[in-house]
Amino acid sequence: MNTQPILEVKGLHKSFADHHVLKGIDFSVKPGERVAIIGGSGSGKSTFLRCLNFMETLSEGEIWVDNERIGVEKNGRITYPEKQLCSVRERLGMVFQQFNLFPHMTVLQNVMEGLITVKGYTKQDAHAVAVRELAKVGLSEKHDAWPGRLSGGQQQRVAIARALSMEPEVLLFDEPTSSLDPELVGEVLRVINQLAEEGRTMLLVTHELGFAYHFATKVIFLADGVFHEVGTPDEVLKNPKKPRTQEFLRRFSEFAF
């Protein structure tokens, strides 16, 4: 079995102006791993995920994808050629909290877009892939709908289909259910779970601790800009060793019944 990491992070720092959000993170993902990243709001978990596919520029540190260092060193400074970033983003699919579907395209066109403009597929080939991926997320009847006419849960499933269509090596989920009405959360989590069963490599930033427990092979508790506690779901979510993790989980269980 291939145990080379797909994605590696070394010494990652990220600051916004004088706000130091990520303070030195080392991390790697191997094929088939499913990592849930939890932590309080403002802890930097979304920022961490967004640094991986360069939605945010790194303040310091290195990102390696398929054993290739991203960025080119020129006169002692790291630059990131657009071509390389596009290729990284193509390999690391992302699903956003706010879906970010293209409102001027139908559901089908949304899924076909990347295939045509990035992968250079013909319309027919792109169409076939889009039909297949939309069937997988249970939206075969919505091909010609405008995204604005769909429920939040349906929009998020289209966004997942759009990311899947690119056949990414890793899927990054940035709080995919946080902007959904509670009754719509389930349909999205079921789709993510189905992807887990296929053995896909995934990183999930979430507040759904129950789902994280069942979904993840590894759980990371992020606090104060560092990985405060890392382990299996049982270790981190059921028997956390660090007081900070315990306290975070206690707040979640306060109103459990």
Partner: protein, 221 residues
């Protein structure tokens, strides 16, 4: 007041006014098309990350926003020929003034449309691996256009009305022709009332056409 209206002398010279109207439409159309080109170039410069491109565009736009339109007409007609040692006919000078003015304002209209597109749209496209230019042409601009349409139309109406300043350069637009008719008939009340109505009909017709275009361009919303 005891004034006896008489449109007779004016209407008998209606062909002169019709020619003026035609020239007004012509100069407006030409200036809108050239203005769009100027505006596109300016907005690309203005939004460029390269400062040496963005700055001149910003200065150009600010200059036009903060100077009276009639000054531009005079500058192109009286000043530019001195500078270049050439002579410009009134039509060319007026087109230059109108298209650079509208170009400056169109650039702001275009920029407003583009920057109004949410960050999430950029990110949605980037996350798929789209290049900046693919994102622009496939995702951002198509959405921005529908937001640009109302201010674009607004601006074009301004331009249509500003064409009347071309009469100060003796270009035979509707206002200039009216002045000719007036000097032959000495009927200012009838003459200027007539052309006011002609401008009104022109603009109302144009706004109907614009509304139809707007509905089509914003269909998906």
């Amino acid at each position: 007041m005891d004034y006896s209206w008489d449109f007779g002398p004016v209407l008998s010279r209606f062909d002169m006014l019709a020619l003026g109207l035609l020239n007004t439409v012509k100069i407006a159309m030409v200036s809108i098309v050239l203005g769009i080109i100027v505006g596109l170039v300016l907005v690309m410069m203005r939004l460029s990350p390269r400062k040496w491109l963005a700055w001149p565009a910003a200065v150009f736009i600010e200059f036009y926003r903060n100077t009276p339109p009639i000054v531009h007409f005079f500058w192109f007609f009286y000043a530019l020929p001195v500078l270049l040692a050439i002579s410009l006919n009134p039509y060319v000078a007026a087109v230059l003034a109108l298209s650079t003015q509208s170009g400056a304002f169109y650039a702001e209209v275009f920029r407003g449309g583009i920057v109004s597109i949410e960050r999430g749209q950029w990110e949605g496209g980037k996350a798929l691996g789209m290049t900046h230019s693919a994102l622009m042409t496939r995702v951002i601009v198509p959405q921005a256009i529908s937001r640009m349409v109302p201010p674009f139309i607004e601006r074009s109406f301004e331009l249509l009305k500003t064409t009347a300043l071309a009469s100060t350069l003796a270009y035979a637009d509707l206002l200039y022709q009216a002045m000719l008719v007036n000097s032959e008939t000495f009927r200012p009340l009838e003459v200027y009332t007539t052309i006011a109505l002609m401008y009104l009909v022109l603009l109302v017709t144009a706004s109907q056409l614009a509304r139809m275009a707007e509905t089509r361009l914003t269909a998906y919303q």
